[in-house]
Each structure stands twice: as structure tokens, then as C-alpha cells.
């Protein structure tokens, strides 16, 4: 097992639009205190151990059982459908009363010869079927494993943990899908980071406005500014539900 597939570049929480970035820069210039410092602590999920072991026969998805049953069913169908054209004409000839005993003896002899050849083949074919079953299970495990991991990651993203990333074992399938999920999470993270930055700037502007209102000694204006502050605090609480690298 080698290195797990991991999103190579974590997108930086830069605003996407040029105008937005200009606005943020301008705001940062006008309010020097406003810097969103990325937290050095990363999510434990993102630092997950890269050494994933493949458990050969662990059943993590119903697809694996379906696949196994399907291979067995296919093989049985092939066995039965082969046995019918091989043995049926000889069996019919044996049951035919119009044939003489010498002719029946020849047919019986042919039937025994065919039996002697068919059943060793069936045994050899059973080995092929067994290998097919094991290989199919292995193939399906490469599909079921990533699906299992995705199913575990979705609730974490739903809880607002946008720093979580999905990793795969070396030979797993669905690497493009998992990369897309990681990319999607990174994009959402970037957008939420932009909103968080905007909220911080807005909160500081509102605080400045309140200070001015207090300086002007206007109780009604102070009350309104306070109300705005409270609303911004509610926005912050909502945004805190999203866990990103910036906190």
C-alpha cells in the first residue's frame, strides 16, 4: 500500500473575484487591525494517517455481496446450460425403446466417456469460478471502500467541517470522484472564508460607527448601532458553525 490519494493543494482562502479582493484589500488598508490570521492548527481529519490497510474480505457495502452472488449465479447458469446440450441427447437415446441393446450399449459407453471428461472439467472450472469470486470481491472492494469513506465524510461536511478531506488507498477506484468531493469542499471552504473575512471587517466598522455615535452623544443612534452589532454577532455565530482552516 502506498501513499493515499490526497488533494495536493489546499486552496488559499483568497476571494475569487478581483473586485472582491480589491475591496478586501482596501478595507484592510483603511482598518489596519483587520487581519484574519490563519490558524496553525489543522483539522485532525486532514492529518489522518496515510497508511490505510486493505482488509481483503471486510464487507463494508451491500454491493460486495451482490457481486459475489452474481458471479456464483453466472457460473451456475453456465454449468447447467452446458450440461444440458452435452448430456440430454445421450439420455434421450438411452430412453428410446426403438434402439437395440447393442446401440444402447454404445450410447451408454459414450455417456460414461463424456461423464469421465465433463466432471474433471467441472472441477477445473470450479477453480476458475473460485478465483473469479475472489478477484471480483477484490475489485468490488476497491469500489466499496471509497464509497464507504465518502458516506462517512458527508456527515462531517454537513456538520460544517469544511477542512475534512477524503483519502484513498493506492489501488482504489473512484479517485476522480473523491478528488471532486475534496475540490468541492475546498471551494465551499474558500467561500465561507470570504464571508468570515467580510463579517470581521463589517463588525469592526460597526464598532467604529458605534464609537462615533457615542461621541456624538445620540442615544437613538447608539441603540441602532448596538442592534447592528448584535445582528453581526448572530452572523458570526452562524459562520462559526463552519469549521475551516481559518477557525
Amino acid at each position: 500500500m502506498g501513499e493515499p490519494l490526497r488533494l495536493a493543494d489546499q486552496p488559499s482562502p483568497q476571494p475569487e473575484g478581483a473586485d472582491q479582493s480589491n475591496r478586501a484589500e482596501e478595507a484592510a488598508r483603511t482598518t489596519p487591525k483587520l487581519t484574519v490570521v490563519p490558524s496553525p492548527e489543522k483539522d485532525p481529519q486532514a492529518r489522518e494517517s496515510p497508511h490505510y490497510k486493505r482488509r481483503l474480505f471486510s464487507v463494508v457495502h451491500p454491493l460486495q455481496i451482490r457481486m459475489l452472488l452474481q458471479v456464483i449465479a453466472y457460473s451456475l447458469i453456465v454449468f447447467v446450460l452446458l450440461a444440458i446440450p452435452v448430456f440430454q441427447p445421450l439420455m434421450q437415446a438411452l430412453d428410446n425403446p426403438a434402439l437395440s441393446w447393442e446401440e444402447r450399449a454404445v450410447v451408454a459407453n459414450d455417456l460414461l466417456n463424456l461423464h469421465a471428461r465433463f466432471w474433471p472439467w467441472a472441477l477445473g472450472a470450479s477453480m476458475v469460478v473460485l478465483i473469479h469470486c475472489i478477484h471480483s470481491l477484490r475489485l468490488m472492494h476497491r469500489v466499496a471502500g471509497p464509497l464507504y469513506r465518502l458516506r462517512k465524510v458527508f456527515p462531517k461536511i454537513a456538520e460544517g467541517n469544511l477542512s475534512v478531506r477524503t483519502t484513498l488507498r493506492q489501488h482504489d477506484y473512484l479517485a476522480p470522484e473523491v478528488d471532486l468531493v475534496n475540490h468541492m469542499t475546498a471551494q465551499l471552504q474558500s467561500k465561507i472564508n470570504q464571508i468570515k473575512q467580510a463579517q470581521v471587517i463589517l463588525a469592526l466598522d460597526a464598532a467604529r460607527m458605534k464609537e462615533l455615535a457615542v461621541a456624538k452623544n445620540d442615544p437613538a443612534l447608539v441603540a441602532l448601532a448596538k442592534q447592528m452589532e448584535q445582528n453581526l454577532a448572530a452572523v458570526k455565530t452562524s459562520l462559526d458553525g463552519f469549521k475551516t482552516h481559518n477557525g
Binding site: 478595507a27 453466472y74 452435452v86 477445473g124 476458475v128 475540490h183 458553525g241
Partner: protein, 221 residues
């Protein structure tokens, strides 16, 4: 889980190729074993020079007759199993294809979309988990939108109050604040939420919003 989706493309995911190739290889192995064990002993006497030509003819006709009986069965069985295995993998690959499309669009902020699979598709559990994730994120963003609207409303009240008194210093601060609110709303606009739900929510939250009316500056924003 809905019905109207039809299967259009035969191959939509590389996993299908793998599976079809594997099935082909294993059934080819079965056929080779069959041919080696059942047919080869039958044709060996044909190469024996001590066997008379009448016996040669009898063996050859037996061989041809067995071939005639077996191969149509084999080919039909093989085709049916191949088609079924392709259908089986399509029930996995189809949902994966849909998920991929959704992952791309959700990343761009279109949170109103949901994974809808065909009736007989597999991966319904994954679709359910994904949709539940989207519901949750959408609710969180709706809450932020709601609070953003409240902030805007509070700003409008402050703006009206300041306009009445016309203090330059506060006017400048207000202007800066307006810019920031505009930027904040632009960030939230990246998320494409269902329009009907948002408007309904806003209407429920601010029954008197229409009567107050936004300031001219906010209208421009």
C-alpha cells in the same frame, strides 16, 4: 428516488470497462477449459493413422454434432450474462456519474441541487447521505442570509437616522459600512439557494420590511 431518468449512455465510468473486461476474461477461461477437456480428447483419434477412415468419419460427425449443439447455447448464455453484467455495473456507474456532476456544481455554490437516482440504481444510501449534507449546508447558509438581511435592515435604520442629522463624520463611517455590507452580500451571493424559499423566509422574518423601504444607497447597491 424517481422514475423518469432513462439510461442513455452505455459506458459512463471506467469501472464499467474493468468489470466487463474481467467478466470476458473469466468466461473465456471457462470456455478454454471446456474446449481443452471435452473437445480435444474427442479429436485426438483423428490424428491417429491406425484408425480406419470409417471411424474417422464417425468421430468427425460426432464432433461436429456436439459443436453444433453446444455453441449456440454458449454464445446465447455468454451474451445474456455479458449484457446483465453491463446492466449491473451501469446501476453503479450511473449514480457515480450523477454524483460527479453534482460535486462540480455544488462547489460553485449551487446548493439547491440534489442527487436523484433512478429506481433500480444502487448507491441510494450514498445519495441520501449526500442530500442530507446539502440540506444541512443549505440551512446554515439560509441562516447566514437571514442574519445578513437583519444587519442590512439595522444599517438602513442607522442610515435614515444619520441622514436626518447630517453629521459628516458619521456619514463617512456610514459610507464605509455600506461598502462592507455590499461586499458581504456579494460573498453570500456566491451560494445559489432556492429563490422561493429565501424570499418566503425573508417575508416571514421581516413582515414590515416593505413598509420601511430600503435607503436610496442600498437600492443602488
Amino acid at each position: 428516488m424517481i422514475g423518469p431518468f432513462q439510461r442513455r449512455q452505455l459506458f459512463v465510468h471506467p469501472v464499467q470497462y474493468w468489470f466487463v473486461v474481467t467478466t470476458l476474461i473469466y468466461f473465456a477461461c471457462l470456455l478454454i477449459v471446456l474446449y481443452a477437456v471435452v473437445f480435444l480428447p474427442m479429436v485426438q483419434p483423428l490424428y491417429d493413422s491406425s484408425v480406419s477412415w470409417e471411424q474417422h468419419a464417425q468421430i468427425a460427425s460426432q464432433f461436429l454434432e456436439l459443436n453444433e449443439r453446444i455453441w449456440p447455447w454458449l454464445i446465447i448464455t455468454f451474451l445474456v450474462l455479458l449484457l446483465h453484467s453491463m446492466y449491473f455495473m451501469h446501476r453503479i456507474a450511473g449514480p457515480l456519474y450523477r454524483f460527479s456532476t453534482l460535486f462540480r456544481s455544488i462547489g460553485t455554490g449551487q446548493l439547491h441541487q440534489r442527487a436523484r437516482l433512478r429506481k433500480h440504481d444502487y448507491l441510494h444510501r450514498e445519495a441520501q447521505a449526500f442530500n442530507s449534507m446539502l440540506d444541512n449546508i443549505e440551512n446554515r447558509i439560509q441562516t447566514i442570509n437571514l442574519h445578513a438581511a437583519l444587519v442590512t435592515q439595522a444599517y438602513e435604520a442607522v442610515a435614515l437616522r444619520v441622514q436626518e442629522q447630517s453629521s459628516d463624520q458619521v456619514q463617512v463611517a456610514l459610507h464605509g459600512l455600506e461598502e462592507e455590507i455590499r461586499g458581504f452580500k456579494a460573498c453570500l451571493a456566491d451560494f445559489d439557494l432556492p429563490a422561493v424559499k429565501a424570499s418566503e423566509q425573508q417575508r416571514l422574518a421581516f413582515p414590515d420590511a416593505a413598509s420601511t423601504g430600503p435607503s436610496p444607497k442600498m437600492k443602488a447597491a
